[in-house]
Symmetry: C2
Subunit: 222 residues, 2 copies
């Protein structure tokens, strides 16, 4: 199923990579924190080699910074970077959405409806919201999936992860969920109607609202 949605090339991810990525995006590490490799080894019950290889990949991906001979750190957060990410997301996801609306077929329409429905039905209190987060990511991924550019999808995914480092700061998050969730459904409607410019405008607004959530969390955090 979902043969439309192909993973970006170059990634045969190990379990430890996936878990670390999830935890980094989910904010289980403090920004700026130095990772104690031996501690991680025990905490995640993995050997040194697989762990180091995962850390190297995460550094290349941008979820860690690798310093000369002094290990790995969680990247700092900054207002400037958040603005940068949000702005780029607006441009790239807008572009991708337009293209997806131009090229998406009936299977896409079905996938989209399904993804939106699953997201709406998801219990946000479950599993610390992890399940909702997964479905939310999946929804946005589905939305732009048939844009026709593997590299654009790759960059969008990367920015999404970076953005979520800000948006998911602090505890839980059923903040203004209803409003954002309504936008998800509006986005589906406009996509099905093939109204590219309206969809793009709504996407701009959607990202902007998410940005405001992220910014508020970032400022409370600091």
């Amino acid at each position: 199923m979902n043969k439309h949605i192909q993973l970006p090339a170059g990634s045969a991810s190990s379990p430890i990579y996936d878990v670390l990525r999830r935890d980094l995006v989910g904010g289980r590490f403090k920004a700026g924190e130095k990772l104690a490799i031996n501690a991680l080894k025990e905490q995640y019950q993995v050997g040194l080699s697989p762990l180091r290889e995962a850390l190297n990949k995460l550094a290349a991906y941008g979820l860690l910074v690798q310093e000369n001979q002094r290990g790995f750190r969680v990247p700092k957060l900054s207002r400037e970077e958040l603005d940068d990410i949000a702005r780029l997301r607006t441009e790239l996801e807008g572009m991708a959405l337009e293209r997806a609306i131009a090229h998406g077929d009936a299977v896409w329409e079905a996938d989209l409806l399904a993804a939106a429905h699953r997201l709406k039905r998801a219990d946000i209190t479950l599993d610390k919201g992890e399940e909702w987060e997964r479905l939310h990511t999946q929804f946005h991924r589905t939305l732009v999936a048939p844009c026709g550019s593997v590299w654009l999808l790759r960059f969008i995914e990367q920015l999404h992860d970076q953005f979520d480092r800000y948006r998911r700061l602090g505890p839980k998050m059923p903040t203004i969920r209803q409003e954002l969730d309504d936008q998800h459904h509006e986005l589906v409607e406009l996509a099905l109607k093939r109204d590219a410019s309206a969809a793009r405008a709504l996407m701009d607004d959607h990202i902007h609202k998410s940005y405001e959530v992220a910014l508020a969390r970032y400022q409370k955090h600091a």
Copy 2:
């Protein structure tokens, strides 16, 4: 010097990483080729661990594909991907150039003139063109450096490397060098004149011409 041009965060690259990246971009490996790790170990005179960590980073960066338990491969080339890369380059570098022209200061102007001059003076026959390639990359990097978005610069650099996998197929390359080189100088002129839309139009054309070179090489190659 060049304090304007900061590396994208997250990269403290090892020697072996840099060399492998250069060789992958420069086409010293066949597309689709499977890398024999033990051979690489001897060829580059490095240990297994540093080598594997470099390969993992390159896979995350997109210059290698990592398959489940069967090592690393050089990614295949395809017409579709080349089109994708060229199109995205046009959009992202155009965007970045506009922003750079809006924000670049006097130091940038000087850097730009210097980079263009060094490129023009470079002897393309030297060192199999490596020196020219280095200066060419540096010129394009300088051009967009003050765009204000670290992430945009990161993506542009990545796409540039991917693009060069096509453009640098086959031997040497003083193809239509003169024409492209003239464009470099025109770009500098328009940038200094702060004519964003003309600069962007020229950049579009420049990338398109490079694309034609790359496409021709790709088709001859296959």
